[in-house]
Amino acid sequence: MTRPELLRVEGITKAYPGVVANSDVSFSIGEGEIHALLGENGAGKSTMVKMIYGLVRPDSGTMTLRGAAYTPSKPAEARRLGVAMVFQHFSLFEALNVAENVALGMENPPPMRELAARIRAVSEEYGLPLDPSRMVGDLSAGERQRVEIIRCLLQDPKLLIMDEPTSVLTPQEVEILFRTLRQLSSEGTAILYISHKLEEIRSLCDEATILRRGKVVATCTPRERTAREMAELMVGQALKTPERRMGAKGEVALGVSDLSVESPIPFGTSLKGVSFTVARGEVLGIAGVAGNGQDELLLALSGELKAAPDKVRVAGQPVGDRGPVERRKAGLVAAPEDRYGHAAAPDMSLVENAFLTAGVRKGLTQNGFVDWAGTRRFAEEIIAAYDVRTPGPDVAARALSGGNLQKFLMGRELMQGAQVIVINQPTWGVDAAAAASIRQSILDRAGEGAAVVVISQDLDELLEVSDSFAVLNEGRLTRPRPTEGLTMDEIGLMMGGAHGMEVAHHVA
């Protein structure tokens, strides 16, 4: 199938101080084509689309839109020429309703009543249920994304850019989104779809351009390739699937019963009656859309939030009222999601960051004095064992790339010989090769008899590592079920299904 060409990008190069974000990138998108821009974190996808959307100007290279030279100097110009973009992070005002938010993004908004009618019309036409009079603050992440999409559709774009759109959606919401995108495509709107999720790209996209370190390394038709082949193109090396060593499950190492805590985070989600147990050798995966209590669960398990003593038990010992130090002593280590400022102190060296949590279990203090020589040895062990790319253990944590720092922090917790390990987002922002090795280490530790809780928003990851599976939804945890035999549909329903489907019936 050949389509008339919509956008052609030729020889685009963009360098920032110290890093070349894009180097000689060329590709073209046909009218109505769904084109994937695929690559790991830092491969240059975002910079590329920012140039197409007029946020960044390329150093060299040309772009043509329908045969005419295309050099947008600002997003408004790109929009005028028919290029729209839905960002990964939404720019919406929570205290305004849907129609008002849409109006704010328009150059000449029509009267509110007319706009509301148009929003309703577009939302029905494209199967994106959305009530224009609802407050954005009350909407789920999926619904907020629809606001952004509808805002774009009202401009009747020729090219719609979507940056990692599914990271905040439940599987059902992903289906709704894909249906909409396919409909747009059939009506002639091209879509530039940015993602690193291969199965999505295989089911949705017509063509794919794969970026690695700022360069185009391959183009392919996703349907004709396996996810594995694309992953290897993306990473540039053969990938190992984590192996599980099936050990017999041991006795219960972590028991949480009816745990309820207030969220210390403004607009956070309080935990409501969370109960589960994890046995030695077992990996419990906890899924859920971001902001449903994941951070709070980690705080309540690490000891930063306290509860009644018997709400949390480590190896039968009640630790619910204990702080992080006592819990580590009891055998529980935790790894928070936020690397810069929570799991690690960004301005401190890796040695100091090693001491941050390992001081207790590695016996790195004597009469209150820190054994820095011993801490340095431990930091060096982590760097060697987890292949952390760093000039040495004395550099500041923030000088490391996100993936390298994550490897270091994972190593720090996993190498302490704890019998209970809790990790929030183990591979967030980490490249595929490093993610695979982190997952392998988690499974290895479970194989050695540790009880592991993995909290993640990446369903594929959870299905890969976990023995049992539960979902956090508005601070409540579903009953854990064996992972084997779970279907995506069942998982989606556990995650609360498609938020806002009831509105759809309403409208229809």
Binding site: V325, A345, D347, M348, G359, A399
Partner: protein, 359 residues
């Protein structure tokens, strides 16, 4: 167009180059100020920075350096521990006054008893007085989440009022012929903070300052509590994750800085000042804030910064008496030092870049 860009790692060069650069910029700007006042700027700068150490009266003024530097260093080290942890005790001046009043009260209560235990007990009472005064903002912060900057600062004025009351009322010298002010400790050997080595101006306060500097350095670099102080200041959430109890840290840091300020007050009132008087406090508690930052919040740096600041005090007095420079000009000069220090400090974490093109 110049643009500030965050450095990937803090510059080690600028970390150490900042204080000398700030001193030089202060001399330049101060020189311009003095020139505008009709003084010869080179003469003023020489009088402030050179004469106290190498000039005609250096034999006396050198001793004055440690006398002034001692309390500055003692207070600044306590403040620096708190500042490192992100706890902003601005009220050291008040804690200094209260330390002096508590310590002096103990000594004056037993006047004229002679015992070698009197002075040590006064030292403890002085530290306690400063500690108590610092506990007020500390506990208000941990219990009611009040702002320690405001509370500690306001308590300075309360302390000054108590000081005025003490020198005209409950600590007034009964043989003072009605003049305000307490008995003079110089005529009370058991309670007197005598010079240990006069040519260097060394008294127990100076000893305490230098010993404290070494202890604080060890605390910050080797001890777990020092690690927790630094961690809490740099990454409060990481500190909680590590297991730091924020409330306990506030009480610890405020307590240490209050006690050290109290000690400084006690050594001052029993030594160089000699008595409790209405104008006993001379702003050491505030100047110590500059000293703490000038010394990079590092105890050893603070020792150097304390001497530098003492130099501007001693030299400033010289400039006032010899060249007729108003005292306020000297205070502006000292303030400039902090201003330039904070300004140049930006270079530790940022660098300037010429921005090319639009982004």
């Amino acid at each position: 167009m110049l643009r500030l860009e965050k450095r990937p790692t803090p510059s080690r060069f600028w970390l150490y180059a900042t204080p000398p650069a700030a001193v030089i910029l202060t001399m330049v700007a101060g020189g311009i100020l003095f020139a505008a006042m009709g003084k010869n700027p080179f003469e003023v700068i020489r009088t402030i920075f050179w004469d106290p150490v190498f000039g005609e009266f250096a034999f006396y003024l050198r001793g004055q350096l440690l006398v002034k530097a001692g309390p500055l260093i003692l207070i600044a080290i306590g403040l620096a521990l708190g500042f490192r942890a992100g706890i902003w005790n601005i009220g050291a001046e008040g804690q200094y006054i209260m330390g002096a009043i508590f310590g002096a009260s103990v000594g004056l209560a037993v006047f004229p008893t002679e015992s070698r235990w009197i002075f040590p007990v006064m030292v403890v009472a002085g530290a306690f007085g400063g500690w108590v005064w610092a506990m007020i903002p500390a506990i208000l912060k941990t219990r009611f989440n009040t702002n320690e900057i405001l509370v500690s600062l306001m308590l300075v004025y309360v302390a000054q009022t108590i000081l005025a009351k003490a020198s005209t009322g409950f600590l007034k010298n009964p043989e003072g012929m009605g003049f305000p002010g307490s008995r003079n400790f110089s005529s009370y050997p058991a309670a007197k903070n005598a010079f240990l080595y006069e040519p260097l101006g060394l008294h127990w306060g100076g000893v305490a300052a230098l010993v404290t500097a070494v202890l604080a350095y060890i605390l910050l670099t080797r001890h777990q509590a020092g690690f927790q102080i630094r961690l809490a200041g740099q990454a409060p959430r990481a500190a909680r994750f590590h297991g730091v109890n924020p409330a306990r840290l506030v009480v610890l840091c405020m307590g240490i800085s209050g006690a050290l300020a109290g000690l400084a007050g006690l050594f001052e009132v029993t030594g160089p000042a000699g008595q409790i008087s209405i104008d006993f406090n001379t702003g050491y508690g505030f100047t110590a804030i500059i000293v703490a930052f000038l010394g990079r919040l590092n105890p050893l740096g603070i020792v150097l910064a304390g001497f530098l600041m003492a130099l501007t005090y001693v030299g400033g007095e010289m400039a006032a008496t010899q060249l007729g420079l108003p005292a306020a000009a000297i205070q502006v000069f000292q303030g400039m030092l902090l201003f330039f220090l904070l300004a140049v400090d930006v270079l530790t974490n940022y660098r300037f870049r010429l921005a090319v093109g639009a982004h």
